[in-house]
């Protein structure tokens, strides 16, 4: 057997060509990084971004040159496409990782239980100490109320559009949802502010919730619509053919089938509004003291707290540290929400196990 194999290997094969070893992309990447550092030092470039770009270019061209020499032009093009994808991936990930790293590195300095459980009530913005308890309370209440308003309206609108919507009204609703998707957050804030001025009201948390609900609704409608459209028509027909009324079909078959995706969409929209600053600035105003009542008096919120610590502290390091710690808290909050959404989506997904 082995004899026959060696004989056949000696014949020129049209199916097999020379190929680079598996580790070659890594080697080329390492080589281009070394070369880029060399060029950067030699030419006196002090921006690391320039070094990175040079490394990326060297990697793409080097891959092409080496592969073209060894493997041929077609394989070289294939490798260039692959390396372009990798370069794009690295370009996208580097800022993300760097942002996360900076936030964590600067945020952990003052982030402790004291920070999470105390307000800025008696601490001047330029002094160390204080915390974000009041901002967390404000954010939770405002975002929670916004979700209570926005999510049901959004989900019901999507159900109407997918299951019932025909003709003019549905088209109008779709159009307005599209328009709402494009509303800048400050405009939503101004809209509620104009109502507040009409009734001569002072800033309070719930006004912010209303603006956030306006921002949240179109996102929920869009994502829920897509999820409902994914439910196969056959399931609706199967249920209708059993003599189940349409509303029960929607409630018991269509929505449960897509509930994972719907909840994910709602969670993502919550994550989106949790970081909104502009409407909160206009409508909730900010408050260094703890205010547990969203329906009366100014409140704080995490994004607003970050903004105010930066803008009103006249360059005090303590305030900057607090702003970073609050940013870290906000990112953690959004990430926990996303993870919960994923968990629910997996838990509620249609089961396929045997």
């Amino acid at each position: 057997m082995s004899h026959a194999a060696t004989v056949s290997d000696k014949r020129p094969s049209t199916l097999r060509g020379a190929s680079l070893p598996k580790w070659s992309p890594w080697a080329i990447a390492a080589g281009s990084i070394v070369a880029a550092v060399g060029i950067g030092l030699g030419a006196g470039l002090d921006s690391r971004v320039q070094w990175g770009l040079i490394a990326g270019l060297l990697f793409v061209f080097g891959t092409y040159g080496i592969a073209a020499k060894v493997e041929g032009r077609r394989q070289a093009k294939d490798r260039v496409a692959t390396s372009l994808v990798w370069v794009a991936f690295v370009l996208a990930v580097v800022p993300l990782v760097s942002l996360l790293w900076t936030t964590i590195a600067r945020g952990v300095k003052v982030l402790d239980v004291y920070f999470l459980t105390h307000s800025m009530g008696v601490v001047a913005d330029s002094e160390p100490g204080g915390g974000i308890y009041h901002a967390i309370i404000g954010s939770l209440e405002q975002v929670g109320l916004a979700t209570l308003i926005g999510a049901p309206i959004g989900i019901l609108t999507a159900i109407y559009l997918v299951e019932y919507g025909r003709g003019g009204l549905a088209k109008a609703v779709t159009f307005f949802v599209d328009v709402m998707t494009g509303i800048p957050s400050i405009v939503a804030g101004l809209f509620i502010l104009s109502l507040m001025l009409m009734f001569d009201m002072q800033p309070f948390g719930f006004a912010g919730s209303l603006a956030l609900a306006i921002l949240m609704m179109p996102v929920v409608v869009r994502s829920t619509e897509e999820m409902l459209k994914l439910v196969p028509n056959e399931l609706r027909e199967a249920s209708l053919a059993l003599g189940v009324p349409k509303w029960r079909t929607i409630l018991k078959v269509v929505v449960p089938t897509s509930i994972g995706g719907i909840i994910t969409g709602v969670m993502l929209s919550i994550a989106r509004i949790a970081g909104e600053t502009a409407p909160v600035l206009l409508l909730v105003f900010g408050n260094p003291f703890i205010n547990n009542n969203p329906f009366e008096g100014a409140q704080a919120s995490l994004p607003l707290y970050i903004y105010q610590q930066y803008s009103q502290s006249a360059g005090s390091t303590a305030a900057y540290d607090r702003a970073w710690a609050a940013s870290l808290t906000l990112i953690a909050f959004v990430m926990i929400l996303n993870m919960v959404a994923r968990g629910i989506a997996r838990w509620k997904a249609p089961k396929t196990g045997r």
Partner: protein, 258 residues
């Protein structure tokens, strides 16, 4: 508890497109009636008009009469939901509810209609699964998801789900076209048993299947693409397959056309 269906002068539309034209026939109780004919001739559309599923499609509407034991399904004030409780349906592709277990799938019709006794539920499920010849295969895993079954088992699960609500008539839209020969045989045997209790109407592309399972066969055809489909003839299956009265039927059955 099966009922007879009398169709007279039935025409169905999708929007402005006329899909089937002027169909009249009688479906006898406790029998199997097969619909055969080339693709696009309106067999499935006609089947769906029989339990008012046709109008679920947007733009679907119907003219003419369908009498279920002298009661017009399209009469004024008739609730399509109660029509569908009387006339069940099994679809081409097995479509168990993916969020539900095997048990819940069979119980779905009763539960979603809200008219059941909790204590009787497991009896109904067992009876329906036995009726669909699936009980022995699934009795140990009733709480597992229905989508984990094989295609043939899923289709029998759908049949069990359909018969659990005790319809009078069972419509089957090419129930075996997605199944292998062994599962097909299982379903055909099942049809033979079910016709003792239900009136069965089955659409099939497989003429041997029509010949094997049905008592009467209806042949549908259309003059040309875009033209509405028509009922060419309906007769005892034996006669249709041995000595049909219309030449087109003989051509179709003997494979000279279509």
């Amino acid at each position: 508890m099966s009922k007879r269906i009398d169709v007279s002068g039935l025409t169905a539309y999708y929007g402005s497109h006329k899909a089937i034209e002027d169909i009249s026939m009688t479906v006898e109780p406790r029998s199997v009636t097969a619909f055969i004919g080339p693709s696009g001739c309106g067999k499935s559309t006609f089947l769906r008009t029989l339990n008012r599923m046709h109008e679920v499609t947007s733009g679907g509407r119907v003219e003419g009469k369908v009498l279920l034991d002298d009661e017009d399904l399209y009469g004024t004030g008739v609730d399509p939901v109660s029509v569908r409780r009387e006339i069940g349906m099994v679809f081409q592709r097995p479509n168990p509810f993916p969020t539900m277990s095997i048990f819940d799938n069979v119980a779905a019709g009763l539960r979603l209609n809200g008219s059941y006794k909790k204590s009787a539920l497991s009896d109904v499920v067992e009876k329906s699964l036995k009726g669909a010849n699936l009980w022995n295969e699934v009795k140990d895993r009733l709480n597992k998801p229905g989508s984990g079954l094989s295609g043939g088992q899923q289709q029998r699960l759908c049949i069990a789900r359909a018969i659990a609500v005790e319809p009078k008539v069972l419509l089957m839209d090419e129930p075996c076209s997605a199944l292998d020969p062994i599962s097909t045989l299982a379903i055909e045997d099942l049809i033979g048993e079910l016709k003792e209790r239900f009136t069965i109407v089955i659409v099939t592309h497989n003429m041997q299947q029509a010949a094997r399972v049905s008592d009467r066969t209806a042949f549908f055809n259309l003059a040309a693409v875009g033209q509405p489909g028509k009922l060419i003839e309906i007769d005892d299956t034996e006669r249709i397959f041995s000595n049909p009265s219309v030449q087109a039927t003989e051509d179709y059955i003997s494979g000279r056309f279509g």
